[in-house]
Symmetry: C2
């Protein structure tokens, strides 16, 4: 069984929708549009978690239905589902399925990492059972712990994004530690990601083992693009975390592709900056603005 | 609200049951005792996941009821629950609750790690909602991403075990990378763990921010014990992964405490090495052997 290479599917999705936008599905109850919460009054539910799950479902289905022209990729962040317990986990699985049915490429943002047999269980849980197209993983254990993900990238059309340089202010504390070779730790991880994905190269010139590279570190990110020319980037940090489209120019290749850029809060809760606009229209406008800004930053128009 | 320091609770649990054993709850369907599987024939269930969850529940409740004299701590590995989807996630939460009701210290082995608001959701999901006493976390993001866990260690009697040196063969690939200071990466992480836990010191001399240190690296582990004298260790790698009690001597302090040692497969599936013995008796015998061997290795008798 051999499905189409993940990197090729990702590149095609970007070209088809002319969009590098990844919509981060990070539902937060307090930030939901008031009309979503009003449609599910607390006293209509036996338990708070059930009420919240009902709100999240309406909200996320709305987004998935409404953003198909503007975004090619969605990234459910599982922490925001786990925090609602069992019902939240069920909704996570439902959201992955519904997103795939609507033609999105789905990156499950789970950042898992563990030893062999446990990593195998995680890979099955998220790539096989939940059915995501790709997952995010943490490299700290080393490559033997990532092999269950890599084998699915080599043989089953799945993708893996390995944390290289994250977008948080404290990322320097560990990731920038200087190695005896004179390079920072994240540089070494970058080289390993290139190596790990060598056997997953698609027809479009990119491999199915990608890298998470925060958009908040302009210089480092451009350096990483040059260092990993065949590695697709998943870029967090846009919007609410501070990165602008112009900061991201260096993350795209000379064809204007090779990176997809995530934004969550700025899209999901865009209604807060647009009084009088329906929340979904606001999300759509925000996504379209981001799409156009990234398309220009990628030198595409 | 301030509950008793986690490190103190952990030390007390070890003394009370005279046991450094952590029972790793890593259920694997194919390895279950035949009588557990026979009690839940596939055709009695609508779906395979429901049948497996029923088997896991019987098996885990049996272990929790049966090992209370031999083990003080249990460590559910969430990957083996996630792989059964929503019903598996529900069972994970149930197992945490049932273990706490039976007086075990519960370490949820989730190895989470992510940026601020996401880390907060993970900390809530596993420490507040599922209600574990402690969790395992990955340090790659840096300390700002771990703060939601640390605040619960400082203020709510919770514990955190940070990956320092893992038990897998490939751990050297990243964790042993030599820094410009001349030390390996894991040594720097060890120093950070000591710093991060400074404000969580309990009356027993240990802090509530601990370290995961694989028992399969005898020399490194003893060095880490000296380097982190106030940091409690969670030690994987015993039994099925190859470490013996004598390998672990260096992980205990001069009082014979400061480390708890995990074994999963060797205990859970001990019936396979003991033909004719009931699976739970086999698990109990294996745990008692391990308990006694560790007690001696710790210089306690």
């Amino acid at each position: 069984m051999s499905e189409e290479n993940f990197a090729d599917r990702l590149l095609t999705a970007v070209e088809t929708r002319r969009s590098h936008v990844v919509v981060g599905l990070d539902p937060d109850y307090e930030s939901l549009p008031p009309e979503i919460r009003a449609a599910h009054p607390g006293d209509a539910y036996e338990r708070e978690d059930l009420q919240r799950v009902a709100c999240y479902r309406d909200f996320l289905v709305g987004l998935l239905d409404g953003l198909q022209a503007e975004a090619a990729v969605v990234k459910p962040q599982i922490a925001y589902f786990e925090v609602l317990g069992t019902q939240g986990y069920e909704l996570y699985m439902e959201v992955v399925r519904m997103a795939r049915e609507r033609g999105y490429v789905v990156i499950a943002d789970v950042k898992r990492g563990d030893i062999g047999s446990t990593a195998e269980a995680y890979a099955r849980a998220h790539l096989d059972i939940a059915g995501a197209d790709a997952v995010t993983v943490n490299p700290y254990f080393g490559s033997d712990a990532l092999e269950p993900f890599f084998v699915r990238a080599r043989e089953r059309g799945k993708g893996v994004f390995v944390l290289v340089k994250t977008s948080n202010p404290g990322s320097a504390e560990i990731q920038d530690l200087l190695l005896s070779s004179g390079e920072p730790l994240y540089g070494r991880i970058a080289d390993l990601v290139s190596e790990w994905g060598r056997e997953t190269l698609g027809a479009g010139g990119y491999q199915a083992v990608g890298a998470v590279v925060g958009g908040t570190h302009r210089e480092e990110a451009a350096g990483l693009r040059r260092r990993m020319p065949r590695v697709p980037f998943l870029v967090p940090g846009y919007g609410a975390q501070g990165a602008q489209a112009s900061d991201l120019r260096g993350l795209f290749d000379e064809r204007g592709t090779g990176a997809v850029v995530n934004s969550a809060r700025a899209i999901l809760y865009a209604y807060r900056k647009r009084p009088g606009v329906h929340w979904l229209d606001a999300a759509r406008q925000e996504t379209e603005q981001m799409r156009a800004a990234l398309w220009r930053a990628a030198g595409r128009g």
